[in-house]
Symmetry: C2
Subunit: 360 residues, 2 copies
């Protein structure tokens, strides 16, 4: 079958060039006579890939030497536990801004691992429609950190300006929008992201963490869970998920060749603007459950008049090779996830279909 | 370059057919128009792969319904922490049998996470030459579990008969020899293994755990670290490392088609016997640092008269496309790792070279 238009929410579309490179090299990487999966993680061939992946993260996001770039396992979900385990000394509490299902899960896990309080909870009638304003945050000046989820895949909301947390480190789960545009990493204490949206395949987690936080992190937790263990050994303390890191390298190499994050942002904004404009154009037919200023550039969530119409829309789209448009099972509706690797052509095809669907 | 003879200790050689299948399907799995890496972990295409991988583990090892088969992340090293965190109630201690560097690491991590004592320590002058006899184990009848490392990759030793631990659950790190032959899973409370020797690529960890241990496991640890979280959701509680699991499926499918573990054992025994016989044949030239009854069938460790001769041997072997023969940096010497996917032809080539090297 020909490659389809992939609007999956994650794991999601990967750049075709990154996949083609993997396919070409799968039995023999760089003339070594082995797959990258068969190389020792302590050998030169793999180490070059590993270091290139880290260097590309640093370059693309302009990460300064004040930060460690860690390549870990377990997904963002594991970071829900590791962030409080590392950063919260006994008696300290963390502030969580709850803007969707994922930040709610992060908050719950932090409550088991340590102490956590909600600095804002945007849930209303079981839905999350917007990102809070700075004035709506009830921040504890003594908190160990403030945690946010930069993009909410299910609700379709996104932080467009990050909150001011003063001297309290800002921790962000950026699993679903890291690298959608340039950001100022120096505003964050920790940024973490499961790779399976903009970065690569599932199975690798990127953690960018300020070195002073690594250093003063707790030492009474198992060594494997301490950021310092991984920072001290360049994320080679134990065997890393080599192939997932190889794919991360392939993806970030493509992003770099596309012109880096400024170029990626321009494309991403055009893609999202196109879909939101069609929703507004046919506002009698489509509606967005999200307040305008909080709309996500990664997950365009919208509704039709009835669940039946939504099901028909999704089924018809599928016939046109547009896959993965079903909204999350907890909220229903339609969701077009348009991460970096979703080409403009896919979004244009979807926009054309949205204009045409039941228009006569 | 042509594919080489790969004696890497792990990540290690993978079956060529498993890699070729991945290469063929990399851009489009099963006519879906997407890579397996681009599929949702909640979609039918991925779920079929996931469930097939688990079913193949169950079939190959005859795992009964009394056990959960979990597919996790973080490697065996993460299990060093998770086993005590899950299984040890406050006040309970675990027994560790220390037969090499990896069991020593597991023991140290358990001491941070909970309470642990050494039931035997086989280290002598910094080396591990053998597996203890049952009579050498000082077992605590009240222990939460007894932990062993079934095969020691660095020392080149292996348990050929498992210890009797009475009513105390036996926990085994089988990272480097699981599936080298059939075993009686019912003798174990927990078996865990990082995949990167016999099972698949790095980035996926197999845990086979008795359901009653899952059920009575601790609930006061973060949800992501509780075995019950993953058991309750068929290891789909959070996004799994989909591609690594896909490769696990590919590898286990090959093993099944080879005739299963009984057939694999026959081949593995022949491979190891050939190398050990050459070591004995030329005992003036090669020596094994391991006692005969404790010799590993997976990692054949041997020495030449001097480190210089060993370096020459390894360099000459490399010229003949035999890679990865250098002993672990902590012990030196030569090590041929001959896991399931290392073909008999590779071992025969090595044996021929060993016979010929400096023989005139």
């Amino acid at each position: 079958m020909a490659r389809v238009f992939n609007f999956n929410p994650g794991p999601a579309a990967l750049p075709l060039e990154a996949l083609e490179r993997a396919q070409r090299e799968l039995l023999d990487v760089g003339g070594s006579g082995m797959s990258i999966m068969e190389h020792s993680h302590r050998g030169k061939v793999y180490e070059a890939v590993h270091n290139e992946a880290i260097a590309l993260v640093r370059q693309l996001l302009s990460v300064s030497d004040d930060y460690d770039v860690l390549l870990l396992q377990g997904g963002a979900t594991q970071q829900f536990a590791l962030v409080p385990m590392n950063l919260l000394d006994p008696g300290k509490s963390a502030d969580y801004v709850i803007t969707g299902s994922w930040s709610k899960k992060a908050f719950k896990e932090a409550q088991i691992a340590a102490e956590a309080r909600a600095a804002a909870n945007m849930e209303q009638d079981g839905k999350y429609r917007r990102i809070p304003a700075q004035s709506e945050l009830s921040l504890d000046a003594q908190a160990g950190y403030v945690h946010i989820t930069s993009n909410n895949t299910i609700a379709g909301t996104q932080w467009h300006a990050f909150p001011d947390t003063g001297n309290v480190p800002l921790v962000a789960d950026m699993s679903s929008d890291l690298m959608w545009r340039p950001i100022d990493v120096s505003k964050f204490g920790v940024i973490y992201a499961g790779a399976q949206k903009n970065l690569g395949p599932a199975g690798i987690t990127l953690v960018i963490v300020r070195k002073d936080l690594v250093e003063r992190g707790r030492k009474d937790i198992p060594a494997i869970f301490q950021y310092r263990t991984h920072a001290a050994e360049n994320s080679l303390s134990n065997t890393p998920p080599c192939f997932a890191i190889y794919m991360l390298r392939n993806v970030l190499d493509v992003v770099t060749k596309q012109g880096g994050l400024a170029a990626v942002e321009t494309t991403n904004r055009k893609k999202a603007a196109l879909l939101y404009s069609v929703i507004e154009e046919r506002s009698d037919f489509y509606s967005s459950p999200v307040e305008k200023d909080s709309r996500s550039m990664m997950n365009v969530v919208f509704n039709l008049k009835t669940p039946e119409l939504e099901a028909e829309f999704i089924a018809e789209a599928q016939k046109r090779s547009m896959m993965g448009l079903k909204g999350h099972r907890s909220v229903g509706g339609v969701r077009a996830s348009i991460y970096n690797a979703v080409p403009a052509a896919a979004v244009e095809a979807l926009a054309a279909f949205m204009r045409e669907f039941k228009s006569v």
